[in-house]
């Protein structure tokens, strides 16, 4: 097993990694920015190295500084968490050059799967359902037009190298096509450095459901169930749950089997997530694969009673998976709310110092959070301050418990989206499970769909 893991991340996921390492008896060293000097992860890690100033570009995204810090730390492995450099092939290469294990898939795998349109192509050729669209990036306006015609409007323009919903545009008829395409290209160029755009059939009222997979170096790969991430605000996940209330057991089995098959086709290993869209007839289409641990991983951990971070560390170290597919059974229903430091009406970030804090606790509650009373929520980083995960024997029990837990969650000094979650969890659409990915934008923000 590893002796010391260097944590190239911050906040709750850094804390989560420290906890997993403690259970495995592995020492930790965290690289932190000056802004995070007084953070809980820095307090709880065995060692810490300041890697730069507050701005991520010069600290958490600073390959040069991180490389030296990893070297100085004497760590034999690096956990990138999510975001930042977690899917950056260059960072993986640097780790390799330093003779340090990058906890995640290998450099080639990450590079291979970074090209979303190529991945789609491979799966399509292997009879994994994908959304009808262009074969990879469209070369020119003519190809664009013909593809659009063949699959029919509305269509979606996506950046080949994009992610997180940025650089995505819906086009409803040919008149809008060229302007939107040019806009998408320039946005992609500025956001991701490459202007490649590919085309997809736009699905009305879709559900966003993803499959958690994890595999080892010996070709063993299993799924740890699905997560329903349909509740999004501007393509950003807001609330996740598992199992998905949208699927019956037959459809669920078919879906998860397909996801594992897709992962095998892509020769994927380590922890990963395959994202799919479901249309109103419950046909599902592959969108993309994420080659990292995800924010919402605790939902699956609650439902299947596994520790994905520990498992990720062990398979990266060369161990076989500690469980077989048939040993994994859903034990409950779990819901996660992403508590953000933001105005719950207009969703603008609300950084500042927390001057009162009380968090719920119970046998069925888990909170992944790095905040404390007196902690200053920085404007430099993501506004998520806590992940509140609650389980119940049924979805309804979990929903009620989540509402009770939210009513106990007292935080002063910053605004949070807790009131927003209370509205959602009490909405008939959520209770009756009759919502799609546009639900929040449509109902709560009154945005044109």
């Amino acid at each position: 097993m590893f002796k010391k893991i260097f944590i190239a991340n911050r906040g709750e996921i850094a804390l989560r990694i420290i906890r997993a390492c403690k259970e495995l008896g592995i020492k930790t060293c965290i690289g932190y920015s000056v802004e995070d000097k007084d953070s809980i992860p820095v307090m709880l890690a065995d060692e810490s190295i300041c890697i730069g100033p507050a701005q991520s570009m010069h600290s958490y995204l600073n390959l040069f500084s991180l490389a030296q810090a990893i070297h100085n730390s004497g760590a034999d492995a690096v956990h990138p968490g999510y975001g930042f450099l977690s899917e950056n092939p260059t960072f993986v290469k640097i780790c390799n050059d330093l003779d340090v294990v990058f906890i995640g898939p290998d450099e080639q795998t990450i590079a291979r799967l970074a090209d979303k349109s190529k991945v789609k192509q491979i799966l399509k050729n292997n009879n994994i359902p994908t959304i009808p669209g262009s074969d990879g990036a469209v070369k020119n306006i003519d190809e664009l037009k013909s593809v659009a015609k063949s699959i029919g409007y509305p269509i979606l323009l996506k950046a080949s190298w994009g992610g997180g919903g940025r650089g995505m545009r819906v086009v409803r008829n040919e008149n809008e096509l060229i302007n939107e395409f040019n806009a998408a290209q320039s946005e992609a160029k500025s956001s991701f450095g490459r202007e490649d755009i590919y085309v997809e059939k736009f699905i009305e009222h879709p559900r966003h459901i993803e499959a958690q997979v994890i595999g080892d170096k010996f070709g063993n790969i299993v799924h740890v169930g699905e997560r329903d991430c349909t509740l999004q605000r501007r393509h950003q996940k807001v609330l996740e749950e598992s199992p998905s209330p949208y699927l019956d057991d037959i459809k669920r089995a078919e879906f998860l089997e397909t996801a594992v098959k897709a992962a095998s086709i892509l020769q994927y290993w380590n922890a990963g997530t395959l994202e799919f869209l479901f249309d109103e007839d419950k046909n599902f289409y592959f969108i993309e694969i994420n080659t990292r641990i995800q924010v919402e991983h605790p939902v699956s951990e609650m439902v299947y009673d596994v520790d994905l971070i520990k498992e990720q560390i062990m398979v990266s170290c060369g161990y076989e998976l500690s469980f077989k597919q048939e040993e994994l059974k859903p034990k409950c229903c779990a819901i996660e709310c992403r508590i953000n430091a933001e105005d719950s009406e207009r969703f603008i970030p609300s950084p500042g110092k927390i001057n009162f804090l009380f968090m719920p606790s119970s046998s069925h509650t888990r909170i992944d959070s790095h905040i404390y009373c007196g902690y200053n929520v920085s404007q430099y980083y993501d506004s998520m301050v806590a992940k509140l995960i609650v389980k119940g024997k049924t979805r309804e029990e979990a929903r009620i418990r989540m509402l009770n837990n939210l009513s106990e969650f007292k935080i002063e000094g910053i605004k949070t989206n807790i009131p927003f979650f209370q509205k959602i969890l009490n909405s008939k659409e959520f209770i009756n499970n009759t919502y799609d990915t546009n639900f929040i934008d449509r109902v709560f923000l009154n945005h044109p769909k």
Binding site: I51, H58, H71
Partner: protein
């Protein structure tokens, strides 16, 4: 008031629990404050220093960056901090003599030390004329970003 009297007053206040004392004469005015009379703003100062450092950093200069020492009032006494994660070397080579010694006068532009990062030897240049009061790290020691390396006194 004569210097003797002033000394006495200072001694008295020094040995008292007062953290602030002011005395004005003619229209006599006295103020005595114990530390309880102050809010705690250590962290505030910290954040301030952080911001300042951050502002300097993006330029990626390998010019020494400095920040005033909190523990003292002396505006000329400053810390020279490391602009990168690195290994600190006092001399250009193991057998060579150190760039600077404590007590030494150093001119603007002279090299203070070498910061080795990713096999690259970065010479840390001095920003202003000063005297090296103290060298705060050992030779070949690993240093982190923003770590104080030298305590120096600005020459005016």
């Amino acid at each position: 008031m004569d210097i003797k009297t002033l000394k006495d007053i200072i001694k008295i206040v020094e040995n008292s629990q007062f953290v602030e004392f002011s005395y004005k004469d003619d229209e006599l005015e006295i103020t005595l404050k114990k530390k309880e009379a102050f809010p705690e703003n250590i962290t505030l100062q910290d954040n301030f220093r952080v911001a300042e450092t951050a502002a300097k950093y993006p330029s990626q200069t390998i010019m020494a960056q400095t920040s005033q020492v909190e523990s003292t009032q002396d505006p000329n006494l400053v810390e020279i901090r490391s602009p990168m994660v690195a290994t600190f070397y006092r001399a250009p080579a193991p057998d060579a003599k150190p760039y600077v010694e404590e007590g030494q006068k150093v001119k603007k532009g002279e090299v203070l030390c070498i910061l080795e990062a990713m096999k690259i030897m970065n010479e840390l240049e001095n920003e202003f004329d000063c005297i090296i009061e103290k060298i705060l790290v050992q030779n070949a020691q690993k240093v982190e970003f923003d770590q104080p390396l030298f305590l120096v006194r600005k020459a005016n």
